[in-house]
Amino acid sequence: MTLAAPLHDDPHHLTPRAQGVLRIGVKAGNRLDTLRQSGASKALFPRHAGGDLLAVTLNTAGGVTGGDRFSIAAQVAQGSHLTLTTQTAERIYKAQPGQTARMTTEAALAPGARLDWLPQETILFDRCRLRRRLTVDMANDAIFLGVETLVLGRALMGERIEAGFAKDDVRITRGGDLIFADAIALDGAISDQMAAAWCGGPANCLASVTYVAPDAEARLNTLRALMPANAGVSLIRDGVLFARVLAADSHDLRRALIPVLTALRGPLPPTWTL
């Protein structure tokens, strides 16, 4: 960034800081127990065919930039089932110098509870700065299905990330024990880093699918058969299934993910169409 940037390019004028807090509690019968929404975070509860409670979150600020803070806290009571998705893909725009956006999601799953965390893609733009963290604290027999997708610049638009920072952390504890962690770190010339052999190569997008459930092992062969070329799945330890899927663009990635997620939960929310 040049020091002589004209005023109208000053990101402070274009992108004020946004904050959003969402708290969702689900009780027996898959009914909403608590809902608190503030700032730029809202949740909608559309009617749908499944028996689970479907919450669709939206960011009324229209995107995320450096210094923004978004948090979601979900509590799923014994035997209940919550599905969380986003209304649109989340866009992480250019950050102001020295500022980093933070997005945190924390979920607590009681015995027999189930959470499906199915946000749409997160699209990184040039000069973004993001720290994202998903924490799941689940009972031994609870079920967690999660997908998180990163699109590193929109390939069809010729976008590249010459500079930026994205740290994406996942921590899952089951019965109090840490059983899964993922840490994606992209720093600097992110498009070049991704293009390195054995990082992403030609792939511009990646998705991580995590399924923690007592029946995870029984799903392994089904998922192996559904993996496209640049993808892998492993039953890392008992009850913990993890897949990483790479693709050239977000459309290809979604086409690969839909059968995988459908195999792990049945029909997807209407936001997950091609």
Partner: protein, 219 residues
């Protein structure tokens, strides 16, 4: 502080490290390819240049940098159990988890027996970090030696599953030495927050290795 332990001379610490990290130390390192066997089997990794790329990515954006951070944190911390739990949780596949836990357990067994330590079974980088701290071996040397041994182990695995001459193999190890040193230097000031990577295709190869037949490696 790092040199204030039981080793009176830095050379003594260096010799201990050389013993721990030599191919003759009974860790079973020869059983693991870190997913390399898969990359070779499906034709994506064919020659010395491809091997250089694979190693550089695994070191810079994958297990190399993360093992260095875990080792350094285990060296500095009084709660190795928590770091070990994180090291296990970060394994991206079942065979990678086996690779780091089985070698770590073997390391602890031998070090406990020979040096009289009381290490509980831990992942390899965590175990090496704890043992080096207990023996008063400097952290920077431990990190460099660990990363160099990791590199040499991977090249040795490559020699058994692809055409690679002995001289060529040693040249690749030597070429990666500056990278090992810079990653070791970086880990001195890094912490748990810095853990992370982007060696996605290398990790995917390790996942795909689970169904590879025939195979000579356990990962």
């Amino acid at each position: 502080m790092a040199t204030a332990g039981r080793c009176r001379m830095p050379t003594e610490g260096l010799l201990t490290l050389m013993q721990w990290l030599s191919p003759g130390f009974p860790l079973g390192t020869f059983s693991y390819s870190h997913g390399l066997e898969m990359a070779v089997a499906d034709g994506r990794l064919r020659d010395a240049a491809g091997l250089q790329d694979w190693i550089a990515t695994v070191l810079t954006h994958g297990t190399g940098r993360n093992d260095a951070i875990l080792l350094a944190e285990a060296y500095r911390s009084d709660d190795a159990q928590q770091i070990d739990a994180l090291a296990r949780a970060l394994a991206p596949s079942r065979e990678r988890l086996l690779e780091t836990t089985a070698q770590g357990e073997a390391f602890c067994t031998t070090v406990n027996a020979v040096w009289g330590l009381d290490l509980r079974p831990m992942c390899l980088p965590v175990a090496v970090g704890r043992a080096a701290r207990m023996q008063g071996i400097a952290l920077d040397v431990t990190l460099s030696a660990y990363l160099h041994a990791f590199t040499a182990g991977l090249i040795s695995a490559a020699q058994r599953c692809m055409p690679l001459g002995q001289t060529q193999a040693q040249r690749i190890v030597a070429d990666q030495t500056p990278l090992c040193l810079s990653l070791a230097q970086a880990a001195l000031t890094q912490s748990i927050d810095d853990l992370g990577g982007s060696a996605f295709l290398a990790d995917i190869a390790a996942m795909q290795h689970e169904t590879l037949q025939p195979r000579i490696f356990r990962s």
